[in-house]
């Protein structure tokens, strides 16, 4: 009972942290679209070597481990960049570095799936190309879950705040409830989306007339 009360007290604090997770995931998703879609076009380019090079690039990006990339971005990217048209140097926030790292995974997904969709579209199979949408949402879900890794480079998101709560209350026996509680946040966010994706996919697949497992 007392544990539940403690969890309730800290809920706003934890929710704010989860806001960072969502922000990171959305940013990564958008960056992924912005770079993944053009890459997909290049992968389907008529010029042979352009297609070859872009397919290689997509493959390499696909094989980069996200967790290591988070450290890479956090360590290598400067804390500030000065842009010629701005007076003050622009601060590169830690959460943005993580979003950049996670976007690699997204670029990999998007370029691969979108190039398949593109081929379907060019072959006149519009319905099949629509399958890209559930694919993208699935990728986004994986990114949302991976956003928890931001805690290891000190971004003050949900998992990191869990550790703060445990340290602040000084109760080690709070550890299991807090971590379980935090995992429910992810579950509550991802489950409805995943369910909707499942429905969408079944419906789209029925239209395509093929329900090949993906």
């Amino acid at each position: 009972m007392e544990t539940l009360e403690t969890l309730w007290t800290w809920t706003p604090f934890l929710l704010q942290g989860f806001g960072w997770n969502v922000l990171i995931a959305f940013s990564a998703g958008l960056i992924g679209l912005a770079f993944g879609v053009p890459l997909a076009y290049l992968m389907r380019a008529r010029t042979r070597w352009v297609a070859g090079v872009s397919q290689r690039t997509s493959g390499v990006i696909h094989h980069l481990p996200t967790f290591a990339l988070i450290f890479y971005m956090a360590v290598i990217l400067p804390a500030e960049v000065s842009l010629p048209w701005m007076d003050a140097p622009l601060r590169v926030a830690a959460w943005f570095k993580v979003a950049l790292a996670l976007s690699a995974m997204q670029i990999g997904y998007v370029s691969e799936n979108f190039s398949i969709a593109l081929k379907a579209w060019r072959d006149g199979d519009a319905a099949k190309s629509m399958l890209f949408i559930p694919g993208w949402i699935n990728g986004f879900l994986i990114t949302a879950i991976a956003s928890s890794n931001a805690s290891v480079v000190g971004v003050n998101e949900l998992v990191s705040r869990c550790n703060t709560v445990i340290a602040a209350t000084g109760q080690t026996d709070l550890m299991i409830p807090v971590y379980l509680y935090a995992s429910l946040f992810f579950l509550a966010f991802c489950f409805p989306l995943a369910w909707a994706v499942g429905k969408l996919k079944t419906r789209l697949a029925a239209r395509v007339g093929l329900s090949r497992p993906r």
Binding site: P65, A68, V75, A146, V152, G154, P213, R214
Partner: protein, 537 residues
């Protein structure tokens, strides 16, 4: 001193000097010292407890003790000369002092203007002073945290880069300490010796410096540039080696109230090590040098090394790319151990994920009433919560309870493999069950059983391969609970050596190569299994 004792001692020192002289050129400095009976030693007077002044203005401190011991062992008297950080090496070059013992860190730059005596006699570094009970035991615990620091300190930037600290810079020590007291930061980043002096004061009760030293620099005695390779350099080097072996340095350290430093322990163990024949491992080579294994490889030049070490140092000198895991035996050992652990983790995760996924799929599609429903629910949880959180929950949460109640401790590697294969196993299960559903479109009685599992697996081979590649990429996450895999060792190496960019790029390339190779291997295996299976049917 009795005559006999005096005689013995004289004999010992004659032998000692004779031995030290092997392979060395004669030294004018040593001759002058012997002739005058005085050695002039530069020491500091403003760096407690190493070199300071007592109530009567006389020098005292740990380094003063060392200076006196050098003179005693050379059988001459010591003349102590006050030097400062700015002029200490200049005084050597001018010939105003014969030896400098003044908290001087041994660096490649300094070796160009003076001769560093090997082995080093002490190691300084930076640490963080913070309130007790902060639950921060290592540098990783400070990532992203606000830390106070003083303007102009050379270590601010590298520390912020290597450990991802968020530094607030104060004008001076006083302001930074106030910042710490008022809670504007979790700790104060400063040199260990100074922090040690603060902690000794009453006003900083309840504060501690629990983190290991970072930016460790080894302190060396220095003689002039011209003395490189002379009998004098050898004699002083032998004295320092003897200080380590006899425990004199550790004893003096304790006498001056310094905390026991791991550096002195490690160096003593290294210099006391003997080979099978009972000789010191660290003894002079016929050329009069210490063996490379007993020297600080980061300070060697390629001319002083052979083999791999030579190649690594050459690359460093020519290109500035510091591949310390090539030329430094310690870094090399830990880097390849990390690589091996990563490979083992990848293989274990792939196998465990496949096993989990298949067993889970059999359970879910087997329709064992509530058990199948439960398995389905468990899979949803496993797939939609971060593996990092699952690892923390199991390792710190459950692991803590197990340790408190039963005294068992969990293996971090087993926990990591378990959690990651659980997450991936759930995804594989999903693909298998979906494949089974697809099969049912043409064959309504199709069920996942041990006999039919392979059909479903071949149908879902694309997504399953994707999941397996993902789990191999995820093994990096094991570093979060302290599994010393490639990322963790690379972070440790770059923290010690400062080769941040190089290590990060090496790390990424290493992972890329590993995963690309593993993916090719998996694809080949998959093709082989497919062929065999089709051959059977």
């Amino acid at each position: 001193m009795t005559g006999r004792k005096w005689f013995l001692r004289c004999g010992f020192w004659l032998m000692f000097l004779a031995c030290a002289g092997v392979g060395a050129t004669p030294s004018p400095t040593l001759q002058a010292i012997e002739k005058s009976g005085v050695i002039r030693i530069g020491v500091k007077s403003d760096f407690p407890p190493f070199g300071m002044l007592d109530g009567e203005g006389q020098p005292k401190g740990m380094e003063i003790d060392l200076a006196r011991d050098v003179a005693r062992r050379l059988n001459v008297s010591a003349s102590l000369v006050k030097v400062t950080t700015e002029n200490r090496l200049q005084r050597l070059e001018q010939g105003a002092v014969d030896l400098v013992i003044a908290t001087t860190a041994d660096t490649i730059e300094r070796r160009r203007i003076a001769t560093a005596i090997e082995p080093p006699y002490y190691a300084g570094g930076v640490t963080v002073m913070m309130r007790e009970n902060q639950r921060i035991q290592d540098w990783a615990g400070l990532r992203g945290k606000t830390v106070c620091a003083t303007q102009g300190a050379y270590y601010n930037r590298p520390m912020a880069e290597r450990f991802l600290l968020d530094l607030v810079i104060y004008r001076d020590t006083r302001d930074a300490l106030l910042g710490l007291r008022d809670g504007r930061c979790v700790g104060y980043l400063y040199t260990q010796s100074a922090i040690h002096a603060f902690l000794a004061k009453e006003e900083w009760k309840g504060y501690a410096a629990p983190l290991p030293l970072a930016m460790v620099s080894q302190w060396a005695l220095f003689v002039s540039r011209a003395e490189k390779g002379t009998a004098y350099e050898r004699a002083i080097g032998d004295i320092v080696a003897e200080w380590h072996r006899s425990g004199f340095l550790k004893e003096r350290e304790a006498a001056w109230g310094l905390p026991p430093s791991p550096f002195l322990n490690q160096t003593q163990a290294q210099w006391l090590a003997q080979d099978k024949a009972g000789h010191w491992v660290c003894s002079r080579t016929p050329e009069g040098e210490w063996p490379t294994a007993c020297r600080n490889t980061a300070l060697l030049t390629s001319a002083e090394a052979t083999g791999l070490q030579n190649i690594g140092l050459l690359i460093k000198e020519r290109t500035g790319i510091d591949l310390s895991f090539v030329y430094d035996p310690f870094d090399r050992a830990r880097f390849f151990k990390g690589l091996a652990i990563t490979v083992v983790m990848m293989a274990a995760c792939v196998l465990a994920s496949l096993a989990w996924g298949m067993a889970w799929a059999l359970l879910v599609d087997g329709r064992v009433r509530w058990l199948s429903a439960l398995a389905r629910l468990a899979a949803v949880y496993a797939r939609m919560t971060p593996p990092l959180l699952q690892m923390y929950l199991l390792f710190f949460g459950v692991g803590g309870v197990l340790f408190a109640s039963l005294g068992w401790s969990l293996y971090p590697m087993a926990v990591a493999i378990g959690c990651m294969s659980c997450y991936t196993g759930a995804a594989i299960m999903n693909s298998l069950v979906e494949a089974a559903r697809h099969r049912r479109l043409s064959n309504p009685s199709f069920r996942l059983k041990t006999g039919t599992l392979m059909q479903a697996a071949l149908l879902a081979k694309g997504p399953i391969m994707g999941s397996l590649i993902n789990v191999m990429k995820q093994t990096v996450m094991a570093s979060a609970i302290g599994v010393p895999e490639l990322l963790l060792v690379s972070l440790a190496i770059m923290a010690d050596q400062g080769n941040v960019n190089v290590m990060m790029n090496v790390l990424l390339v290493a992972y890329l190569a590993l995963i690309t190779a593993a993916a090719a291997l998996l694809a080949w295996l998959q093709a082989w299994v497919t062929r065999r299976h089709q051959g059977v049917h």
